[in-house]
């Protein structure tokens, strides 16, 4: 009978596991330490962090625009905007049409549509002067379950980690970008709403809180209309109109229902769009619907809600075209019949 490997190499075996466990413990202790030391830093919800940094970048970029003599088209909304609007593609169409517009995508990912209003106010306070504001809506934001921000133990699990743009931002702004991370007051200009959103999610253990958050994706059966986002959208429209900023709404596309994917409240997409359309009609502003049959192929979606870069390019070109028609005076409002 041969000796077991461990009988000769027990010390090495112990070393391997003790070292491995210690490394993991130290790593999570570092993360926990950062979270506890800087409570406003949303490490757990880095998509939000990313989205909000985009907003911060929009302010910084926007302040440079007057020198370029370009007018800003500012996009607001959730992750469907953040990941669905390609600034490069839109600007390329604008250039082609000889329009002196510059696109700025300030979509805030991570289901933090409720961050849009306070963020928009903060951006205006910081001196941002957009010519046009286009708000992208998704059905997800019109129900009451949207304050959760990540998936856990679902098929479309998204491991939520810091996005490249965060590093990009830190590299670009250096200490300027690091300062708001460390200063609660400054940081909260942009993040307080999002931060509160993730703090209020119940039953989060430390691990989930740090790494994943909790998922309760709304289903058809659980769909409850919640006017909070619509009210915020109304407020954004009011702010824009009072400042002479042109404002429009677009309905972001959803992927066709796939039986093996996590369900989303498809049955209520008409109900949601109807409310948005009514708001647009009341306010006399454009409302473009891109959630139309045959407009997007399933392959152009990364998941139920989010487009691939190719899909994003496609919708961006359509948006640029809509903006072109809008700036020449056409206020088009796609009716309910255009809904998939």
């Amino acid at each position: 009978m041969q000796n077991r490997f461990i009988s000769k190499y027990f010390s090495e075996f112990r070393y391997t596991f003790v070292a491995g466990i210690c490394i993991v413990v130290v790593a999570y202790a570092v993360i926990a330490g950062i979270v506890l030391a800087v409570p406003h830093l949303p490490l757990a919800n880095k998509r939000t962090f990313y989205g909000l940094l985009r907003a911060q970048m929009a302010v910084d970029e926007g302040q440079k625009l007057p020198a370029l003599k370009r007018e800003m088209v500012l996009f607001l909304g959730s992750s469907v905007v953040e990941r669905g609007v390609s600034e490069l593609s839109m600007d390329s169409v604008f250039n082609h049409l000889n329009l002196s517009y510059e696109t700025m995508n300030a979509g805030t990912g991570g289901f933090c549509a409720d961050a849009n209003l306070p963020m928009f106010r903060a951006m205006l306070d910081d001196g941002l002067k957009p010519e046009y504001v286009v708000y992208g809506v998704s059905i997800q934001e019109l129900n009451g379950a949207s304050t959760v921000h990540a998936f856990f133990e679902t098929k479309d699990t998204a491991s939520v980690k810091l996005k490249p743009k965060t590093l990009w931002n830190i590299i670009r702004y250096g200490p300027t970008a690091l300062a708001p991370l460390m200063s609660g007051d400054h940081f909260h200009q942009y993040v307080f709403a999002a931060n509160n959103a993730f703090r209020d999610v119940p039953n989060l253990n430390l691990f989930n809180r740090l790494m994943f958050g909790e998922n309760s994706p709304p289903r058809d059966s659980a769909y409850v209309f919640n006017p909070i986002y619509l009210n915020d959208l109304k407020e954004i429209i009011t702010i824009c109109q009072s400042r002479g900023i042109h404002v429009a709404i677009y309905n972001a596309p959803l992927r066709k229902r796939a039986p093996d994917e996590v369900d989303i409240p498809y049955q209520h997409r008409g109900e949601s769009y109807e409310k948005v359309l009514k708001l647009a009609q009341d306010q006399g502003i454009p409302c473009w619907n891109f959630d139309r049959t045959g407009l997007f192929d399933t392959s152009e979606f990364q998941d139920n809600y989010h487009l691939t870069p190719i899909g994003a390019k496609k919708v961006s070109i359509m948006l640029a075209d809509s903006i072109f028609r809008w700036q020449s005076g056409a206020i088009s409002q796609d009716g309910m019949e255009t809904l998939e």
Binding site: M1, Q2, N3, R4, F5, I6, Y9, S11, E12, F13, Y15, T16, F17, A19, G20, C22, I23, V24, V25, V26, A27, Y28, A29, V30, I31, I34, L43, K46, R47, S86, L88, S89, D91, S92, A158, S159, V160, K161, L162, K163, P164, K165, T166, L167, W168, I171, R172, M211, P309, I310, K313
Partner: protein, 473 residues
């Protein structure tokens, strides 16, 4: 199962515990089962294909050993090579051949509707097939006796750290370690953990972070300025290096935990002063495989200068095709083949030779310029590697050289620190400086340092665990 996934984080400790609890013979069987499980996690059906390669090559090598006539040995070698190449042809190249043939017929006026096979590409097929083929060839050449034990050979081919993305190991490197009882030291474990961490940093902090920006360039070529495209060309070089060198580091690190040493696959390739040196430092296991089993059998440099250049070119075409079944990969090989041939001709013209080893010339004041030139030539060829078709490549290159003004500040600023980080890691790794620093630390300090680096990977790593690029080969 990918190394940078939760499933693997659970799998590895279980395999390590089982491995340490077993005696030597049981360890090999256990590692084999674990390796097959690792592979089946992706798609269990392709286990049969892996098993076919193992069975055919094991029995072919045994038959070669026991055959007394050269003719019979050759017959077995042909059977083995034919079987491996057939599997590769069907699963990797069939659609490429069919569509290329159809395109050729269309060119000469025959319009056909080719039927392509709806086959998934078995993960890592090029890696394990090449390993297995080289084993049989070496047995045929009489370099060593084949493994007597079937299970040892099966483990050699399917050993999970190298199975899906290399390095392409030679039997002489790995089999002796499999056949003999192994030892393991604390230094090996420390170095193994360091390599795993280094690989994760390369993958999560470098390759995955730039992936989005690179994708953007290829999907929106016409929206980019020339400088943007140039920076993204460099970014892809950084991405693929971080991705593949990261995988190789993790594979080597994991293997060290089992007391098995795998050879290095990259050695500061971007400090190379010419394309010959670069290919000796880049994907070393593939380059040396191609040298030994394609370039030298073709005649190498023994049949005059013209034949040498031709052999270089053909070898690189094979390298391109090994990477993927697409004409763009052939183009990638061709650009590098032409580069190598020109470099050989230049050496001949200037009456110089390539030094042994990595072929590093003496460092002079010109070295930074030759390094830059080499990086740019290789990065340019990698555009063909990345691009889905020649039309996109043409659009990319023509726009890059159209001097479209402007610059996207993100790409510019993004590329510089990542280049610095990538080079710093290389220098720390290959000068041994990083290892020496860690050796001087006590256990607690090492653990804290590793823990902080791991936290950095968790915090700053990209959004999703993007599969390793070389899995598709």
């Amino acid at each position: 199962m990918v190394f940078n996934s939760l499933a693997f984080a659970i799998f590895l400790p279980i395999v390590l515990i089982g491995y340490y609890l077993l005696p030597f013979k049981g360890q090999n069987r256990f590692l084999l089962v674990a390796s097959l499980f690792f592979y089946a996690w992706w798609d269990w059906r392709f286990l049969f294909l892996l098993a076919l390669t193992i069975v055919v090559d094991y029995y072919s090598s045994q038959a070669i050993k026991h055959a007394t006539e050269k003719k019979i040995k050759l017959r077995w070698l042909r059977l083995s090579l034919g079987s491996n190449l057939l599997v590769l042809s069907i699963f990797k190249y069939s659609n490429f051949f069919i569509s290329s043939f159809a395109a050729m017929l269309t060119q000469i006026g025959f319009h056909v509707h080719p039927v392509t096979l709806q086959l998934a590409l078995p993960i890592g097929i090029s890696f394990y097939t090449f390993m297995s083929m080289s084993y049989v060839i070496d047995v045929y050449w009489g370099k060593f006796d084949p493994a007597e034990n079937f299970w040892d050979f099966a483990l050699f081919v399917s050993y999970f750290p190298h199975l899906v993305a290399g390095p392409i190991l030679r039997a002489g490197q790995l089999l002796p370690q499999i056949m003999k009882p192994r030892t393991v030291s604390k230094e090996q474990i420390r170095d193994g953990l360091a390599l795993i961490l280094l690989g994760l940093i390369r993958k999560a902090l470098i390759a995955d972070l730039v992936a989005g920006m690179v994708d953007e360039a290829f999907t929106s070529v016409h929206a980019m300025t020339s400088a943007d495209l140039l920076f993204r060309m460099w970014l892809f070089t950084i991405q693929i290096y971080g991705d593949f060198a990261g995988y190789s580091d993790i594979a080597r690190g994991i293997s060290k935990l089992f007391g098995i040493e795998l050879h290095i696959n990259f050695a500061t390739p971007f400090l190379s002063q010419n394309i010959t040196e670069l290919w000796r430092r880049w994907h070393i296991s593939l380059s040396s495989w191609l040298r030994d089993y394609v370039y030298i059998p073709l005649g190498g440099s023994r049949k005059g200068p013209a034949r040498t250049y031709f052999n270089n070119f053909i070898t690189m075409i094979v390298s391109g095709l090994w990477h993927g079944a697409n004409w763009t990969f052939v183009g990638f090989g061709a650009v590098n083949g032409i580069g190598l041939a020109i470099h050989k001709a230049w050496l001949r013209f200037t009456k110089r030779t390539v030094p042994k080893g990595f072929g590093t010339p003496k460092w002079t004041w010109k070295s930074p310029f030759t390094i830059l030139m080499t990086i740019n030539l290789y990065s340019f060829s990698l555009l063909l590697f990345r691009t889905p078709n020649f039309a996109t490549f043409g659009a990319y290159v023509s726009r890059m050289f159209s001097f479209v003004p402007g610059i996207h500040k993100g790409a510019t600023l993004f590329v510089l620190p990542l280049i610095v980080l990538s080079f710093t890691l290389d220098i720390l790794q290959y000068t041994g400086f990083g290892q020496r620093v860690f050796e001087r630390m006590n256990f607690s300090t090492q653990t804290v340092a590793f823990g902080i680096l791991f936290a950095l990977v968790l915090i700053a790593g990209s959004d999703n665990s993007i599969p390793f690029i070389y899995f598709q080969f």
